[in-house]
């Protein structure tokens, strides 16, 4: 009965420790490590624990099979978890980098995405005249009326049709997106059927190279340049809005991107829009507009990754428990001898725990390293908000690697505790007598 309650108590404590561990910031983790190290150097029981741990670790190579189970099991969990979260992180980063706080996008009220929006040609000059929009040196408002058409291109992988955003822009578009640089060739000439392509599009779709011809809307277009923006524009093709419109029989624009005049520009412009009954438009800074698009998918990936990681972690915990119980059973005489010559419960528990944590740490590092080597910068694409592909890269950030390590150590904690308790409770005389 007493044993049952003490097991129950340790289980509850363990769950509390795990919960605390998950929310623990890295400074505290560091402090905790330092405290344990200090304890092991300064106090007598700490020194005993250190000696016991040394003996355990020295015997690890003899049990390499079982130790490998812990390392590989945990590496698997951390690898899958970090890779999945890196996918969400990469998608989020791509869309968060798109747009800025000093430019705003205007769409027809209620339309949510560019594909659905309509801004008529007579609305465009009305918008340009509103307050809150920055003006160029020549006195013209910095605005870019834009049109985006979803077109079919062949994917590089298997040639299947994918939807790609073909964006028609106004002459000020380059000034509105200063992060966008031409890396090969030149900009398109307004009025001609010329295209510049994003470097992500070039990587993911077939037959995209400077000098090549593309057939879109039954017309031949020439690719004259490649641009890099390191954001979601990288997945697009760009041309002159006044060439794209007629090619697809589109009289109206779809969106209007404007440069805001200082910090108060957004408020001014929003108020002016609300006051003008001819302009039923929604306005958002481009940064807000694009970051919002990543929310749903990022959340979904995070939930999926955590659930899959949790199920795998449960499997890995049982694997670790198994190996450590076997290790304790295999070293029963050794441990009993230690206890007979005066090693108390705490040093013995610490020794087994530290051994498990060390293996877990190795597993976590290996898993994180594998995820980083295989997936960091790995380019994929998915269908974004505008019915078109958004190309993005997996991003293994230090935060993700850190949370992977935390998972690994958490698994080690659970997997090590019960075998450690068993080692400390081992009846000394029986264990010494056993062959």
């Amino acid at each position: 009965m007493k044993r049952f309650f003490s097991s129950l108590l340790s289980l509850v404590l363990l769950l509390a420790a795990l919960a605390a561990w998950i929310v623990l910031p890295w400074q505290l983790v560091l402090a905790l490590c330092a405290a344990i190290a200090l304890w092991m150097v300064v106090t007598r029981s700490g020194r005993l624990a250190r000696e016991a741990t040394k003996i355990g670790i020295a015997s690890l190579p003899q049990r390499w099979g079982a130790s490998l189970v812990i390392v590989v099991g945990i590496a698997g969990v951390v690898g899958v978890l970090v890779a999945m979260l890196a996918m969400g992180e990469g998608f989020k980063a791509t869309l968060n980098q798109t747009g800025s706080d000093d430019t705003a996008i205007l769409l027809r009220a209620g339309s949510q995405a560019e594909t659905n929006s309509v801004i008529t040609r007579d609305q465009a000059p009305l918008i340009g005249a509103l307050p809150g929009i920055a003006h160029a040196k020549d006195g013209k408002p910095i605005t870019s009326p834009e049109l985006s058409q979803v077109v079919n291109l062949a994917s590089k992988n298997d040639g299947s049709d994918v939807n790609v955003q073909f964006r028609g822009v106004g002459p000020e578009a380059w000034a509105l997106r200063p992060q966008l640089k031409i890396v090969q060739g030149r900009k398109f000439t307004p009025g001609l059927r010329e295209i510049v392509v994003g470097k992500g599009a070039q990587r993911q779709f077939r037959d995209i190279a400077v000098g090549k011809q593309l057939k879109l809307a039954n017309q031949q277009w020439t690719i004259v340049g490649v641009f890099a923006a390191n954001d979601s524009h990288d997945s697009e093709l760009w041309t002159d809005a006044d060439v794209l419109g007629p090619a697809y029989q589109r009289q109206a624009y779809q969106s209007m991107t404007v440069k805001l005049d200082g910090k108060r520009g957004f408020k001014q412009l929003k108020a002016a829009l609300a006051a003008d009954p001819r302009l039923k438009l929604d306005i958002a800074t481009t940064h807000d507009y694009y970051s919002k698009q990543s929310e749903a998918l990022t959340k979904l990936i995070k939930i999926l990754g955590t659930v899959i990681g949790a199920i795998m972690a449960i499997g890995a915990v049982f694997g670790a428990l198994n190996s450590m119980y076997a290790a304790v059973a295999g070293r029963a005489r050794e441990i009993a001898t230690l206890r007979a010559i005066g090693f108390r419960g705490l040093p013995v528990v610490t020794a087994v725990m530290l051994e498990t944590m060390l293996l877990a740490l190795l597993g976590g590092l290996a898993g994180g390293a594998i995820a980083w080597l295989l997936f960091n910068g790995y380019t994929v694409s998915t269908l974004g908000n505008n019915f078109s592909q958004v190309v993005f890269q997996f991003k293994v950030t230090p935060e993700l690697a850190w949370s992977g390590l935390k998972w690994a150590l958490g698994i080690g904690l659970v997997g090590g505790l019960f075998p450690a308790l068993r080692a400390a409770r081992l009846p000394v005389t029986e264990a010494l007598r056993a062959a």
């Binding site: 698997g76 795998m312 499997g315 190996s323």
Partner: protein
């Protein structure tokens, strides 16, 4: 089979170890069951046995609409039995988070989808009401809609008389029996005629055509003939089978098959190592016992089978428990997501693949220990050498 109790006893010789290994195997197959049903749900859109429908849409882009006048031309193509059309509407019910597909359709649209079960009286009521709509059972359940309710939709693309507010009267609720096709119950249909009259932007345009070919006709030939109708016009079409279209579309989101395979690869690799280690340990501990078995007349081969049987039993036992838990959990997940995720439940094919994997893994991890047991030299083993 007569040795079953022997294998069983050997398996539970070390209870803790077997239990912990079993639980690891269970976790692995639980994950497998859930991920595989996600994969099936994602990849089986429109793949209805015997339906062989085709989709005709703009070759230029998914958002490009086609002229209504194509309808009669397509119906006149030899080999075409029926042709209906639909147009994407993109309405939002209250909040963008409540996303579901809604589109306007021709009155004969449901004739091409016999798997959508709609009571005849409701169908009649819908066809008679210009502003009527029908929805799938899952959707009606999620939002608590009853026949006769008014459903307001906020247009994102097509305003009506300058406003985004559209209202429809719910006239019928259809259901789909096939568990793989439950996602089809998350659609709202209304009349294209009403859409065409009431929206401010497009007139006489439809989104895509659904074509039902005659049984004897060649689908390729029909697709070619339909695409020929609009060749070199500004609305060139592309006709393909519905299954091919759905698969290509799903693949644009992500190659779910590849992701699932990668994750399960990592899981099963770990599992191989773990159960392999358990079996190696189990045999190492029992070497004297195996020697005794051989002494009393068990052949080398029966010892091999005994150990192999033990490892297969271990994996199958854990795996079946995992799949059973998955089959309980999958409907729970579907329900908890408020109908947003429609998983088909555990299908026979998932069970089949799972069992195959269990047998394979059990055999692989058992092989080396089993060979060791088979090659055991009785004298050495008994002497503890």
């Amino acid at each position: 089979m007569k040795y079953f109790h022997l294998i069983w006893a050997a398996l539970f010789r070390s209870k803790t170890r077997t239990l912990l290994t079993l639980l690891s195997v269970t976790a692995a197959f639980l994950l497998f069951g859930m991920l595989d049903s996600v994969r099936v749900a994602f990849n089986s859109g429109g793949d209805v046995a015997g339906a062989n429908r085709m989709v005709t849409m703009s070759r230029l882009s998914i958002t490009q609409m086609l002229p209504y006048s194509l309808t009669e031309q397509i119906r006149a193509v030899p080999g075409v039995k029926k042709a209906a059309f639909a147009a994407w509407f993109g309405g939002i019910y209250r909040d963008p988070k409540n996303f579901f597909a809604n589109f306007s359709v021709s009155p004969d649209y449901l004739d091409l989808y016999p798997e959508f079960k709609l009571p005849a009286s409701q169908k009649k009521a819908w066809l008679e009401d210009q502003r009527g709509a029908i929805v799938g059972a899952s959707l009606a359940k999620q939002f608590g809609w009853k026949v006769g309710d008014t459903i307001p939709l906020q247009a994102t693309i097509f305003p009506t008389k300058g406003s985004n507010d559209w209202q429809f009267t719910l006239r019928g609720i259809y259901s789909v029996d096939d568990p793989k096709q439950k996602a089809q119950e998350r659609v709202l249909f209304f009349h294209w005629k009403y859409f065409n009259e009431a929206n401010d932007y497009v007139k006489g345009r439809v989104g895509w055509f659904i074509v039902q070919p005659d049984k004897s006709a060649s689908a390729d030939k029909i697709a070619h003939a339909i695409d020929k109708l609009s060749e070199n016009s500004d609305h060139e079409t592309k006709t393909q089978s519905e299954a091919a279209f759905n698969q290509a579309f799903a693949k644009q989101f992500a190659d779910i098959g590849l992701i699932v395979t990668a994750i399960m690869g990592a899981v099963f690799f770990t599992l191989l190592l773990l159960t392999g280690n358990t079996m190696a340990q189990a045999v190492r501990e029992r070497i004297p016992e195996l020697a005794v078995l051989k002494t009393i007349g068990f052949s080398n081969r029966s010892v091999l089978w005994l150990v192999l049987g033990e490892s297969v039993l271990l994996v199958v036992l854990g795996g079946v428990i995992g799949l059973v838990i998955a089959s309980v959990l999958v409907p729970v997940v579907s329900a908890a997501s408020g109908g947003l995720i429609q998983l088909p439940g555990m299908l026979p094919q998932t069970w089949g693949l799972g069992l195959l994997l269990m047998l394979a893994i059990g055999a692989v991890v058992g092989l080396l220990p089993a060979l060791r047991g088979m090659r055991l030299n009785i004298v050495d083993a008994l002497a503890g050498r």
